[in-house]
């Protein structure tokens, strides 16, 4: 491959990525506005448990984080392994049992949308995520459970990251 071909191909890829990124930001902007509205609505619910409120607030705080997008993409295989393990041992998801029934569905939807919107902060991360999900779906693996596990594992990793520790020390 000649230098000019490398240059042309590189510029083409970069240009394409720029267009996709810009279109994605424009496309997701109204969805993010809706997301913040739903999040604030949940936070204003008096019955919402404190731990869920913290998670919702954190999701809103990091809605534009690209590093979180890559974290989710990297954790997807682990979440899938955990989901398969839970399915084998027959363990059901009890993380939302303490949430009032009328709010449970909203919290679940909010969590799923949060994962998707966060991953969409990086087009490449989104692409890799969907390739993984597609591969798992083809193999009839529990994708829905894996996404729920992904939220849980992602939050645990984030709360124990150096960045979170720094934030904690600043706030103390």
């Amino acid at each position: 491959m000649t230098d000019s071909m490398v240059l042309a191909l590189g510029l083409l890829v970069i240009g394409f990525y720029l267009i996709i990124s810009n279109r994605l930001i424009a496309l997701l902007h109204p969805l993010k506005m809706e997301f913040v509205a739903r999040g604030e609505q949940l936070l204003n619910e008096p019955d919402l448990p404190a731990d869920i409120a913290v998670d919702v607030k954190h999701s809103l705080d990091v809605a534009y984080s690209t590093s979180r997008a890559w974290l989710f993409v990297c954790l997807t295989p682990i979440a899938m392994v955990v989901a398969i393990y839970h399915q084998i041992v027959g363990r059901t998801d009890k993380s939302l049992d303490h949430v009032p029934v009328r709010l449970r569905n909203s919290v679940r939807i909010f969590g799923g949308v949060s994962v998707l919107l966060t991953i969409a902060n990086s087009p490449l991360a989104l692409c890799l995520f969907f390739i993984q999900i597609f591969a798992y779906a083809v193999l009839f693996l529990p994708v829905g459970t894996a996404v729920r596990e992904l939220m849980r594992i992602g939050t645990v990793v984030e709360y124990s990251s150096p960045s979170a520790l720094l934030h904690h020390y600043r706030s103390v």
Binding site: L7, L18, K32, E40, P46, P162, L165, Y169
Partner: protein, 114 residues
Amino acid sequence: MRFKKIIAIAWQIIKLLWKATWGLLGFVGLLVTLDSGWDGFSKDVRHSSFVNFLMHVWQALIALFTGDLIGCITLLVSVAILTHLLVEKARQRSKTEFQSQRKKRVPKGKVKKK
């Protein structure tokens, strides 16, 4: 406790170094590209005729950016950084609106004072 604090500060330093590396790479990339491509550019223009002037301009542009493979790659890195900055600007605009939307909302039960 102290160990955790040290990790947190180290993380902040790594983040700063990461940003500085990108900035430096972009700057050096542009310099190297212009330097290595300049010879090819001047040579092509020297041999160009008026009739196929446009053709030679195109060739000269290619030569300018492909003086060698390193120049080509560094140019690509520079363009990638500029692209990243452009996308980041659009994202910041969206983020500002997102944050203002969050601040605008009044919590339930609290009444705005007139």
